[in-house]
């Protein structure tokens, strides 16, 4: 087991690569979900004329 994590002395490079990949993948999912939620929120506000912020016209800024 210890040998597996040591990666023949390349542990830092190998695990760093796989860790970064994990981070990028999670970030992709998270950003897509956040953007969808923001889109729904924005359109709902635009439709809801009683909203104090008024109809949203600004182009969505969330990446």
């Amino acid at each position: 087991m210890h040998e597996f994590f040591a990666m023949g002395g390349y542990a830092f490079y190998v695990w760093m690569s796989f860790g970064l990949t994990f981070v990028v993948m999670v970030a992709n999912c998270w950003l897509a979900a956040r953007r969808h939620a923001a889109t729904l929120r924005q359109i709902r506000r635009q439709l809801d004329t009683s909203d104090p912020l008024g109809p949203a016209t600004v182009k969505e800024v969330v990446a």
Partner: protein, 256 residues
């Protein structure tokens, strides 16, 4: 045939279709990544030259592949969007850009992490692939910045499309010029391109490439849904969807 095509390309249909497929693709991708990781990290033997460091290939090559695939999708969608004035195609192009950019970054980062133990340097200027990826990242960033800088969405879509098409011509020229340039400066790198990989190493790599592509597709679909909604915000089906039953709403958010 045309009727079928039109129905397929109609925004509410695409919205539903993407919402249906995204979670399935994501699930398949995760299973595939799990299998690929098992094969690549545990089953595959260490490389006789590079030792265990070669295992970075299992994330590096799929990322590099997605960085190119993303740009191709963006460019093809841009052509379709410009010629047939298809909003949906522009939505695809806009959705593909940030995902492609993230995997271009990943390809560069993992390439750098692989290069340090193998070549002794984090960044090898004379490697044409690294340089091409870097330029590709700049092109992605340029596309995204241009798109967000233009207020009007239709204009932003079409201006971005022109840029994406110009970028395709450019990236090809950049690639060959950098290759020519690096051949002047030093002999090729450590990687022996002709070396045949044994099946125990190659199979996990292929599995990873397919799984990464599925992951790309899942995120693309999720982002596509937001873009479709934004472009169709005044359509009746969107209003019904947003104000209508709350259950379908929360489901939609989860899928993304």
């Amino acid at each position: 045939m045309w009727k079928w095509f039109h129905q397929l390309a109609s925004p509410p249909h695409i919205y539903r279709l993407a919402g249906f497929w995204a979670p399935w693709m994501l699930a398949l991708a995760l299973i595939g990544v799990g299998v690929g990781l098992y094969g690549g990290l545990i089953k595959a033997p260490a490389d006789y030259q590079q030792g265990d460091a070669f295992r970075i290939i299992y994330v590096h090559v799929p990322s590099a592949y997605l960085s190119l695939l993303g740009y191709v999708i963006m460019a093809v969608a841009s052509v379709i969007g410009l010629i047939w004035r298809m909003k949906l195609a522009h939505a695809v192009a806009v959705s593909a850009a940030p995902i492609g950019a993230s995997f271009t970054f990943l390809a560069l980062a993992t390439g750098s992490l692989w290069g340090k133990p193998m070549w002794g340097t984090w960044w090898e200027w004379s490697d044409p692939r690294m340089m091409t990826e870097l330029i590709l990242l700049f092109l992605y960033l340029g596309y995204m910045t241009l798109h967000s800088a233009i207020e009007d969405r239709t204009r932003a879509d079409r201006a971005g499309a022109v840029l994406a098409i110009v970028g395709v011509v450019n990236v090809v020229i950049v690639h060959y010029s950098v290759e020519w340039w690096s051949s002047l400066h030093q002999g090729q790198t450590v990687m022996n391109e002709d070396a045949v990989m044994p099946a125990s190493m190659l199979t996990p790599l292929l599995i990873m490439i397919v799984s990464f592509s599925l992951f790309f597709g899942a995120v693309l679909f999720a982002r596509l849904r937001s873009e479709v909604l934004l472009r169709e915000r005044n359509a009746r089906w969107v209003k019904r969807l947003v104000t209508g039953d709350a259950s379908s709403l929360s489901k939609g958010a989860q899928h993304a």
